[in-house]
Amino acid sequence: MTLKKIKYLHSLIILILCSHIVSAQGIEVSGNVTDEDRQPMPGVNILVQGSLQGAVSDQDGNYSLQANMNDSLIFSFIGYKDAIVAIQSEKIDMQMEPEAVTLEEFVAIGYGSIRKQDVTSSITTIKGVEINKIQTNGNFTQGLQGLAAGVQVFNTQGSPGATPTVIIRGVTSINGNPNPMYVVDGIPIGRNVNQINSNDIESVEILKDASATAIYGTQAANGVILITTKKGQMGRQEFNVDLNFGMQHLVKPEIAGAKEYMLVQNEKRFNAGQGEYALFSQEQIDHAQTTDWWNEAMRSVAPVINANIGFLGGTKKFRYSLNAGYYTKQSQMEVGDWNRFTTRLNTEVHFNDNIKYGLNFNPRVETWHNTPDIWSLISMDPTTPVYRPEEEQVGLNRYSVFQRSYNNDTWNPMGTIERFKVNNSSMLVGMDVNTYLNIRFLKDFIFNSQVGLNFSSLMEDNYDPEFVIDEGKESNLESSVSREVNNYYGFVWNNTISYLKTFAAVHNLNVMAGIVAEKGKNRDLWGYGKNIPSDYEYLRYLSAATDKFSASGRDRIEIGLFSYLGRAMYNYDERYYVNVSFRRDGSYKFPEENRYANFPAVSLAWSAHNEDFIKSYVSWISRLRISGGWGQVGNQQPLDESVFLTTLAKIAYVYGEDPQTVVGVYADQIANSDIKWETVEDLSLAFDMGFLDDRILFSGAVFSKKTKDMIMLKSFPFYSGYPNFESMVWTNIGSIKSNGFELTAGYNDNEGDFKWNININFTHIETRAISLADGGPYYDGWWGDYLTKTEEGGLVGQFWGYETNGLFQNQAEINAHTDEHGNLMQPNAKPGDVRFVDLNNDGIIDDNDKTYIGSGQPDFTMGLNFSASYKGFDLSLALYASVGADIFNTTKWEWGWGANNSNTYAGVYEEAWHGDGTSNTVPILDLNDYNQNYDKISDIYIDNGNFLKVRYIQFGYTFHKSKHLKDPRIYFNVDNPFVFTNYKGLDPELYGTVTTQSIDWGSNYYNPIIFSLGLNLKF
């Protein structure tokens, strides 16, 4: 029996028992009861302890009753702590305190919601308040990092509009987007949530295992995140203003100045025996002038602003919630920004107790300008000035006044910024409309019909101005303009009937069946033209182009699903639980015979804490649950719409004395007419423990997800002539498996003035390949050679290359590195070169000596979240750590060795080997590199990727005594204040694709430190 029921009975029994006793004479006590927000609380039950007197507060929270001096009053209300006060005066006001953990919490599950305690699958709930603590994030999933066990969030980009990668309990497919499916109030919205204003969110449910997600069938292989937006409630009115103003700052890497650059580049030539072709004379070195490209391009800070206004409220018949938000983030360069304006209106009309109708309306506008990447700020030759000499600038347009790099082919970063200012802008206008009708009939049945419509229009404008910085290499001789318009229209129609009933007080049954139809269509149009008459701002449109027009456009179905679903949940006396769910999905992406697939799931749970022997004998155990689940989910994501068709594409040739382009066709793709779903089979086992009224919480799970019929590009022999790229055809062929476990420990103390809580979570996931197309291996990460190799049975995406064993310090060491006949294994080596290991001992260093040199998968990731408050002050802090991942640092090629005459990190000149004993890790600077120190993919590129990041520190103060405002709060927050790592590159937090995890390509606009000030006001 729930606490709620116990409480009711408790009050009832007391009232009944006491009703016949004559009241004692005394004083009249009266007062006002308010809630935590100092709003009047109607319906609070007030009893004189040990007596018969009782009263209930009225609509305004007022009460009065008869009692004796020195009696005690007990105030009680569901969801609030009982308060006991000795009567010292005739007026007793009471502010009720909410109960820390209300057992009545409801949790959204697919197509419904259930009480938290009845959940048998792995679902993590995160409250909106938790997510909204950090107001600097444009995408709320950034804030999920380290919050939930089993959920890995990679915040790899810090540029405006960046989207993190979210991976729930490991990946299930080598291809496709690894992000989960997002569902807002029952309507799927895709795999990117930049459009969501996090201040709209009431709570987020992360569905982690198949017993929770199977009801979403084919879209659920990567897990599902359910977002519930804020709804108005009866009798409560609120007006909130939240403002946050932040300043971002990217920590500057240490980059070599002109002098060191010159020394490095000269050294490379001296060591290559080409001293006479040294790029710089001693005099030039002595008078070196550095252009600090980073400082030229970067402002010291850039703003990020988040402002929100919200109203919520409701009456018995009508509830509403309205929130308007504006978010803007700029890049630290002069160009690059992302702005989002959203409003959300959620309304619900209650015709009567049985019929509800709701309308959620969410229009939004996003605009952005792309941010140039930061690669060239480091690579650019520092001896080159920003601008050409003044006399050369005469007559040039503003894009052409820049100096071409003197010594390498890197494009002038300031020139790039100048063009970026004009050359791209995007705007997305979108609107989600979600309506539902909910009818209760025959007492225990509920019919729900929900239609979600999603419109969006994305418009991208590009303009490439005419410019000449260097005619051959850095120029655009014809200006061009293009516009792309992408209109998306999608709808979802959910129809469900549910049946809820308790039999004989112990058999609780909840059954649901439904039909779902979903379709989404993209219509795009693209136009392009060249030679705009001038650079005049208002001429940068297609209609002004004079030449070489082209256009294209088509309709593309993004999703087409028709599904049947069903679920039965049963529990016996809230102790033994069985849940079964089923979904049958049909998708347009498959040929008719493979169109439908079934996705079943089962889960079982035992709530031991509801057993008498625990309740009675070990009362300090407040929670003890064991649950397990099995299920299948599907995936169709990697496929486009035409895999089962043989298609033709346009191609042109030329005929005629007067050459005429003739357009014809070629076979573009051959069909796989057997293509079918990927299936992920998921098994998990979890426990959940609480002690001392759940003050101490401890939970964990082990899980295993195995994908079969994984959709992979199978490569047929090239002589097949199959026209697909590299003769690869999408085929159901592979299998991978993610195994792991997760642990969470929490402590919270909500008593007294000093309150604090801490939550630590730990996730270990390991993804292995079971079977691969053609028996594998699967190579990925092209960088002149493939950087990763995935083999059957092995970890997915391990780095593959040569092992090294230090550097040759002198000729003697080179001479000692021989095969069994005394032949030199590295005849081209010189002192300072890398010693490659002859792993197979065949006396030759070749491809057969390659081995696994590292893995980009972390051994574990960890989150720590701490918050404390004392009276008005509050402090919170979050840490995130990743341990065990190796990084393949491609930037060593340029920034560690100066390849392509690129500039380097500061200190390279000294760190590189320059004589016996000077270094055993950084090879000699040598232009020729006959030994292929840097040409061979080897472990000299591998760095330790461990890091610990302080995600944020927040310090706030709440003013409790204010006349007009309710508890205004101000706070100061710092995002990313500290990173602890040995990694020498820009940022160790990396994620590319499933098989190219943790490769540093050097162009990431990494995460800035953000200082922000915020204010929350309530009226």
């Binding site: 014809e478 028709f562 068709l645 002539g721």
Partner: protein, 546 residues
């Protein structure tokens, strides 16, 4: 009653959802119901023609260039950017994993697939009834292109899988390697079939399609490769005697960008500049100077230049090599000006072609046959439009065919004894015409020396046209009956000897970039390396062990 309603509702839902999921693909053609009209049959062939040289540089065109760098005519050049896989071509260190080898193999087979699909489509097409003549001609053209692709493959790979139909994955399992003989049988039977249905010429709007003459020329060449000298001569005769083709009077005009489908051209790649399609040729960019929008691969060698100078062949030298060599001082001074001669070989078209623009090369020479004079360049030359350069590429011209015939005739005299003519007929016939055009006297040699002179003539005539790689592997030295490459490459090879001992060319031996490409290029050649390995990707399927 209620039950019936439920069943009806259910039936409605099931049928509704079937319809709901039947989404046709929009804006993309599929092969279902294709080949139903004449236009569709014609359109499919455009893919076949285009597939011979492909649209993007790396698919096929670049491989011809890389292969040429393994000859004595050219260096790989561009030492600062050349990838290891490029060097593997030029230095005989080819591996089956090479990333620039497999596209050539792959795209040739893709085009064979396209031709097979065309042939299958034509065989079942209703156009057979409505326009049988057209369909017959298209079938012939498709067969020619299929034969062309197999021929290009057969010249480079010792054995090949043969596919004459589009195959399902299961059917592929039964495909194995076929011998050169079997491949040439297919090539010749396809060419013969095509020659019967393809016309001698087309209306001017269809110029560029394969003609009977072109097919005969390829028959002549294919027979030359299998050393059927008589048949080779026979088909060469057919072309030459047809009177359709004649030698270009001015040698330099042959490769002039403005001389499209010239008098001498028998079959050539058709190009145009089109902003929407890549219907151009990328070779001028790939071989052009680094500071002249080019990538500078495959630079002519001093060895080739010397061959011209020794032969006193200034006209063809100037039409083949742009050199930084200063003719007046006979010295290379490193700051001089390179001279580019106009197509007539006499006037200096660009008096100050800055040598500094030739930076980053082993040899500082440029292939004149691919070079385009600045005034002939399109506006966007070298920028984004590297695959759109409207310069036709000649696959087969009369000059080559005449030299084929000269060689076949020599063999008919000396090898098979089938000849009813003498050496004088060769010298005064085809060789005379070829040499007379470039103001050279007639050859005065006989026997084995005559054959070597025919080979030399071939080198001087065709250098820069990407034929040398094929020729030095096919042509056999009269002394030992081994392909020429065995005499040119390897430690004792003439080219290796020249570069390691005799070469005094300042650029190739002393310039800053000289050391970046080894002077002993070719030293790693050994028997068998004249064949390219079957790419690693396919080797396993074919049971090839590398």
């Amino acid at each position: 009653m209620k039950k019936t309603i439920y069943i009806l509702v259910l039936a409605f839902l099931v049928s509704a959802c079937q319809k709901f999921l039947d989404e046709p693909i929009r804006g993309v053609q599929t092969v279902d119901n294709y080949f139903t009209t004449s236009d569709e049959c014609e359109s499919f062939l455009i893919g076949c023609y285009q597939g011979m040289f492909q649209d993007d540089w790396w698919k096929i065109q670049f491989v011809y260039l890389l292969n040429e760098t393994a000859t004595d005519d050219a260096w790989l050049s561009n030492p600062t950017q050349a990838e290891l896989d490029y060097k593997n071509f030029s230095q005989f260190q080819m591996t089956p994993q090479n990333d620039y080898l497999y596209p050539f193999w792959e795209y040739m087979y893709k085009n064979i697939f396209q031709c097979n699909m065309a042939l299958e489509g034509y065989a079942d097409s209703p156009v057979k009834e409505t326009d049988p003549d057209l369909l017959m001609r298209l079938t012939g053209e498709a067969k020619f292109i299929r034969a062309y692709c197999y021929f290009e493959l057969a010249k480079n790979f010792r054995e090949l899988p043969i596919l004459t139909s589009t195959m399902t994955p299961e059917e592929l399992n039964d495909v194995g390697l076929s011998s050169q003989q079997e491949v040439y049988d297919l090539i010749i039977s396809d060419l013969l079939a095509a020659s019967k249905v393809v016309p001698e010429g087309y209306p001017s709007t269809s110029l560029g399609r394969v003609t009977k003459g072109a097919i005969w020329a390829y028959l002549s060449k294919a027979y030359l490769y299998i050393e059927n000298w008589k048949a080779s001569k026979l088909y060469a005769d057919s072309v030459i005697n047809s009177g359709i083709y004649s030698l270009e009077p001015v040698f330099g005009d042959i490769w002039d960008i403005n001389n499209r489908n010239g008098a001498e051209s028998i079959f050539e790649l058709q190009t145009s500049y089109n902003p929407n399609y890549e219907t151009g040729n990328s070779l001028p960019i790939l071989s052009g100077g680094r500071e002249d929008h080019g990538w500078y691969y495959c630079a002519p060698s001093s060895h080739l230049e010397n061959a011209y100078l020794e032969a006193g062949d200034i006209i063809r030298l100037r039409a083949t090599i742009i050199t930084a060599y200063n003719e007046e001082t006979a010295e290379a001074d490193g700051v001089g000006k390179a001279s580019v001669y106009d197509t007539d070989g006499t006037t200096v078209a660009v008096s100050s072609f800055d040598v500094s623009r030739l930076r980053d090369s082993k040899s500082m020479r440029i292939n004149r046959k691919f070079y385009i004079l600045p005034e002939d360049r399109m506006e966007s030359y070298g920028h984004t439009d590297r695959n759109r350069i409207p310069k036709n590429h000649i696959f087969m011209r009369l000059g080559e065919l005449m030299l084929n015939r000269a060689e076949a005739m020599w063999h008919m005299i000396h090898t098979t004894g089938e000849a009813s003519f003498s050496e004088g007929d060769i010298i005064n016939g085809d060789l005379h015409e070829i040499r007379n055009r470039v103001d050279l006297p007639d050859i005065n040699s006989s026997g084995d020396q005559l054959l070597l002179d025919i080979y030399l003539e071939r080198r001087l005539e065709l250098a820069g046209e990407l034929k040398r790689w094929d020729d030095i592997r096919r042509s056999k030295h009269p002394n030992d009956d081994m392909p020429l490459i065995y005499h040119i490459m390897g430690s004792g090879g003439s080219f290796v000897q020249y570069n390691t001992q005799e070469n005094t060319d300042w650029w190739e031996t002393q310039s800053p970039y000289a050391s970046a490409e080894p002077n002993n290029k070719g030293i790693d050649f050994s028997a068998g390396k004249e064949w390219l390995p079957i790419p690693a990707h396919d080797a396993g399927y074919l049971g090839v062990i590398h």
